[in-house]
């Protein structure tokens, strides 16, 4: 999402409107049944209604809160653990195979395990979201700390820098691009898992809301919920991207 070219920017907006138009066209011409796909105006009305009179606001807060808590926990663990592993050759040699095994596991695969251990509790949801969204940040951090230019390690040795000083002044800034990219991916995973956990454990949130709307064939409410989820993903991604651009200004200064 960079404003590289105003024409491209206008074009990308036009694409959004074209899709909305096709959606509207499909619903008014009766190409698909109203029970499955609502008119976009009805979906918008449902959205407004949900916020002004219904439960949409507390549900959104519930989902965003669940996502953010799990994501923050994952980011904290990922950065601290990743720094420790990335800084130590020995730790990497011992842990890399395990990490390579765990990484490709679909995050949702651990949900049954978490339910068995913790029941359908908020703690289960937090654990699943945190565990599932840990990997991009953890692996990014490990790579970022491990990939410090050897010459800079020598500079640090020549300056007799302490281990913590090296981690803080050289390791962390070097890992920053990987950490932030990992955290952005983690955020997406966290949103997905928050929704799945809500659906499975019926905790108040958008996941439950869209599941119930679908069961009741309330397609306007269903689409309003889905659009809201998309907006949450978009906004959180843009926010993190803005942080990235600020924090990594040195990369773009060439």
């Amino acid at each position: 999402m960079t404003l590289r070219n105003p024409i491209v920017f206008i074009g990308s907006i036009a694409v959004v409107f074209a899709i909305l138009f096709l959606w509207w066209l499909a619903s008014v011409t009766g190409t698909v049944s109203r029970a499955f796909v609502p008119n976009p105006f009805d979906a918008w009305a449902a959205l407004v209604r949900g916020f002004s009179r219904g439960d949409l606001l507390p549900q959104t807060i519930g989902t965003v809160g669940r996502m953010l808590q799990g994501w923050l926990l994952a980011s904290l663990i990922g950065v601290v653990l990743g720094a420790a592993i990335g800084l130590s050759r020995t730790a990497r040699d011992y842990l890399q195979p395990t990490l390579e095994f765990l990484r490709p596991l679909p995050a949702s695969a651990i949900i049954p395990v978490a339910i068995a251990l913790m029941g359908l509790s908020p703690g289960m949801a937090l654990t699943v979201v945190a565990f599932g969204s840990l990997w991009p940040t953890l692996l990014g951090t490990i790579h970022g700390f491990a990939a410090v230019e050897p010459r800079l390690k020598e500079v640090a040795r020549c300056l007799q820098m302490s281990g913590p000083a090296f981690a803080w002044k050289i390791g962390l800034p070097n890992a920053m691009p990987d950490i932030l990219a990992g955290m952005r991916l983690s955020m997406t995973v966290a949103l997905i898992l928050a929704i799945i956990c809500e659906m499975l454990a019926s905790q108040a949130g958008l996941g439950t809301a869209i599941l119930l709307a679908a069961r009741a064939f309330q397609s306007s409410e269903l689409f309003a919920g889905i659009a809201l989820l998309g907006a949450i993903g978009l906004v959180s991604n843009l926010a993190l991207r803005a942080v990235e651009i600020r924090a990594l200004a040195w990369q773009n200064s060439h």
């Binding site: 010459r151 020598e154 500079v155 040795r157 020549c158 300056l159 800034p173 040195w250 200064s253």
Partner: protein, 257 residues
């Protein structure tokens, strides 16, 4: 009573270095006097960088003894600073010029308030006064190398090690930096151990030139360079003694090859 001669700044005593099961350097014995500008030259692969890294404490000698001002080398020390050839990799790309100089001061535990004026002085000294807030990526090669030199000066080193520091720079910048380094070293009476593969550069800069031969790396010649200081890019390089020494060393390097 006779005054005791000062301890040599760098004393190599029968140094041998083996790396990867191969002898890279052997039988290096040499005393470098405090304040001396010594140039080490020789063909590629003869072990110049390795010898410099031994002095820096980054590589351990396999045999022999190395002392700096009478003290055996245990490892890297802030009293010894290294200017690497690949300046682009030796700087922190995420810190601006001032921040890169600050790294050395932070390592020495200097309070932040005292760092500021010193950073300004150092950057001015290497001609980067107006570039304090630029990142390395925004500086030319010559400016980046100047920045690395400023960081090394910030260590206030007793010994300055330079490994082909100007090898990647164009001829003009190279000559400018040669003169700047000569002036800086003279000003602080720093001992400089300067590695180059360029015979003329070695003669232009050095009080003495050490020529190495390869396979394994060993001392071939140690030549005194009694040319007047301050040196001058034109006058010094045209001086008959300079030309004679150049010819002499040139022939020597080519005969034994």
């Amino acid at each position: 009573m006779l005054a005791r001669p000062p301890e040599p700044a760098i004393a190599f005593d029968a140094i041998r270095v083996d790396l990867g099961g191969k002898t890279i350097l052997t039988d290096i014995t040499l005393d470098v006097k405090p304040g001396e500008f010594i140039c080490v030259m020789g063909p590629s692969g003869c072990g110049k960088t390795t010898l410099l890294r031994v002095v820096a404490g980054l590589v351990q000698a396999s045999a022999g003894k190395l002392s700096l001002f009478g003290k055996p080398v245990q490892g890297p020390s802030r009293k010894v600073s290294v200017v690497f050839q690949d300046y682009g990799r030796a700087l922190l790309p995420w810190r601006d010029a001032a921040g890169n100089v600050a790294l050395a001061l932070e390592a020495a535990g200097m309070p932040r308030a005292e760092q500021r004026p010193l950073i300004e002085t150092l950057l001015a000294k290497v001609g980067l006064k107006d570039h304090a807030h630029k990142f390395p990526g925004q500086l030319s090669g010559g400016m980046q190398q100047r920045l690395q030199i400023a960081r090394c000066l910030a260590q206030d080193p007793e010994i300055l090690l330079m490994d082909e520091p100007f090898g990647a720079l164009d001829a003009m910048t190279r000559q400018q930096l040669q003169d700047e380094v000569l002036a800086l070293a003279a000003e602080r009476n720093t001992t400089v151990f300067f590695v180059t593969h360029d015979l003329e550069e070695a003669l232009y800069l050095g009080d003495r030139v050490v020529a190495l031969l390869p396979n394994p790396g060993r001392l071939a010649r140690i030549v005194d360079v009694p040319l007047a200081r301050p040196r001058n890019q034109l006058a010094t390089r045209e001086h008959p003694d300079f030309l004679a020494m150049r010819r002499d060393l040139f022939d020597m390097m080519h005969e034994t090859h």
